[in-house]
């Protein structure tokens, strides 16, 4: 309704051509100035944000190689010995081993359990499908802190808390639905006629799976696996709630180090932070070759055009 009225009034105003042209030009100049100011404002905001984030990370990097740094632009001298210090201070070899075990197990198990489920959801109509979809969506919508505490409670009840199994199971809860969410649309776009074709040529289910479906699934599984990997390295809350002293992953160890600042030198903590950052960034860079930045960040699937 309002648009109709507006169009009508515009039409009437446009009737005397000379005046309309004059005001139109004037307005255009105004608009372009306002437009330029607005654009400047948007870019300045974005630039300010990005510069600060980069400097924030640079602070950690500089501090991790600083001898003494207090109230000056740059530290007095540079050294690499904090990395060795951090390695022994925080028992990083065992922490990294735990991280590797947890992340590896979570990636493998989430693919092994998630891909068949995604296949069923993509291809088969079965009773309770909507229910299954809802159950898989919930862990992605509810934040980890909210369900982490009841989950940790159950883990303590079954004596799983503090064990490596417990940490892996806890991290699987958001990882598995994520794999299903990524893989379901991926499997949907694989032509179902391929199965019929393979069957006509005499392939049994195993041969169809091994020689037709699996090669087609690999790119999707790779993307899903990388996404889960990056998320699991950075998953703090669930690991924090379920890990014991011997089953801390790198990010949890980093939290405890920052939490008890003053016990260790801040440079040593920042050296550990740099190791964590390097590991994460390497995998992010690898993942970005296969997936879009939005997929890496959000829990909902990217809108398709």
């Amino acid at each position: 309704m309002t648009t109709d009225n507006r169009a009508a009034s515009g039409w009437q105003a446009g009737a005397p051509t000379e005046t309309a042209n004059g005001t139109g030009k004037h307005m255009k100049q105004q608009v372009s100035l306002r437009d330029r100011l607005w654009k400047f404002f948007v870019w300045a905001t974005m630039g300010f944000f990005l510069v600060n984030v980069l400097l924030l990370i640079a602070t950690v990097a500089v501090n991790s190689v600083a001898t003494r740094w207090f109230g000056t632009l740059l530290p007095q001298g540079f050294t690499l010995h904090w990395y060795a210090q951090a390695w022994s201070d925080f028992q990083l070899s065992s922490v990294l081993l735990v991280t590797l075990e947890v992340v590896g197990a979570v990636v493998l198990l989430s693919i092994v359990l998630g891909v068949p489920a995604a296949y069923a959801l993509a291809r088969v109509q079965f009773p309770g499908k909507r229910f299954a979809m809802l159950v898989f969506l919930l862990p992605l919508m509810v934040p980890p802190v909210t369900y982490g505490i009841p989950m940790a409670t159950v883990m303590y009840k079954f004596h799983l808390a503090g064990t490596l199994t417990g940490v892996i199971l806890a991290n699987l809860v958001p990882a598995l639905p994520f794999v299903i969410l990524v893989m379901t649309p991926f499997i949907e776009q694989i032509d179902p006629n391929l199965e019929s074709a393979a069957r006509i040529f005499g392939a049994n289910t195993f041969r169809y799976f091994r020689y037709v479906l699996l090669p087609l699934l690999v790119p999707g599984m790779l993307a899903a696996g990388l996404l889960v990997l990056v998320r699991t390295i950075g998953m703090f809350e669930l690991t924090f709630f379920t890990a014991g002293p011997t089953t801390q992953t790198l990010v949890v160890a980093l939290y405890y180090a920052v939490f008890s600042t003053g016990v260790r030198a801040p440079q040593s903590i920042d050296a550990m932070a740099m190791i964590y950052m390097a590991i994460t960034m390497v995998w992010v860079l690898i993942a970005l070759q296969f997936v879009s930045p939005t997929q890496l960040v959000s829990r909902v699937k990217e809108q398709k055009q």
Partner: protein
């Protein structure tokens, strides 16, 4: 759903069961268990004792207000700034790729690392206060850590890229020919935004706001590391983890977690309900 006769059912449907069983056992069951546990207080008492404790103890119920005071401004800032920036970057360009790639960094690094960096960067001797003083923008001592502002900044640092990338994916999903059609009819960029993009964007924006809010409301590590966890930034997740891992009162901890989930549900439900008053429909142009 149409019930299929038994013989027509595809046995491949069973492939979903291992994953379904896993989530039921490790997500649904703990929730149900936590809900039951919240009604059976550790020290006895009535069924509602835990909830009464939460809503009467002055170290418990204010955490809801404290958390809302952080989460609501953070959500408004993150989503509010995302919209114009995503709108400015809606066309595919090298800039878009560059900015989105850079923005992935703070999100994937996670709140713990951001907190660690912020502690140095915003500390009274860090680069940020140094720069402010060198530019004579602010004379007094700059205090941006161990208080409310530290936590709010960390929520923006990790939440803004998330909101932006989501908004961008919604903005790029809108058919640009719609705006071009409006431009042909004489709509200024602002009018195009107001009349075309915004109505089509609202469902996506509601979703972004919901996810951003839920994330901000469950703020945990940065509230401890960057805030004042004993006072001004004692958020609800701190109260919950304290009850569980310091006092070993899992019943009370579950109660707090349930209250936390309920508040999130309430706000998200409110936002989704409000969305109904706006346009819902396709975001692509018809073949008119």
């Amino acid at each position: 759903m149409i019930a299929l006769p038994a013989q027509q059912r595809d046995p491949k449907g069973w492939l979903v069961t291992p994953a379904l069983f896993f989530i039921l056992a490790l997500f649904i069951y703990p929730f149900a268990y936590g809900l039951m546990l919240s009604f059976s207080p550790m020290n006895g008492g009535s069924v509602w004792a835990n909830y009464i404790t939460f809503f009467t103890d002055s170290s418990m119920w204010p955490t809801i207000i404290v958390t809302l005071k952080l989460a609501v401004p953070a959500t408004i800032i993150n989503v509010g700034v995302s919209v114009p920036v995503a709108f400015a970057l809606r066309r595919t360009s090298p800039w878009q790729k560059f900015v989105t790639t850079l923005l992935v960094v703070p999100v994937t690094l996670g709140t713990v690392l951001i907190a660690d960096g912020m502690l140095t960067y915003f500390s009274p001797n860090g680069w940020f206060p140094q720069a402010l003083q060198a530019l004579h923008l602010y004379g007094d001592e700059v205090r941006l850590t161990h208080n409310y502002w530290g936590v709010l900044i960390s929520l923006i640092v990790s939440g803004f890229p998330f909101a932006f990338l989501l908004t961008l994916s919604y903005v790029t999903g809108i058919d640009p020919t719609l705006a071009r059609a409006a431009a042909t009819l004489g709509a200024s960029p602002w009018q195009q935004f107001r009349q075309i993009y915004l109505p089509l964007l609202l469902p996506g924006l509601t979703m972004t706001a919901c996810l951003s809010f839920v994330q901000a409301f469950s703020v945990f590590p940065s509230a401890v590391l960057l805030g004042a966890p004993a006072g001004p930034t004692r958020v609800i997740s701190i109260a919950a983890s304290e009850a569980a891992f310091e006092n070993y009162d899992y019943a009370l901890a579950s109660t707090i977690a349930i209250v936390m989930g309920f508040v999130q549900l309430l706000v998200v439900g409110g936002m989704l309900g409000a969305r109904r008053f706006f346009y819902t429909g396709p975001v692509t142009g018809g073949k008119g």
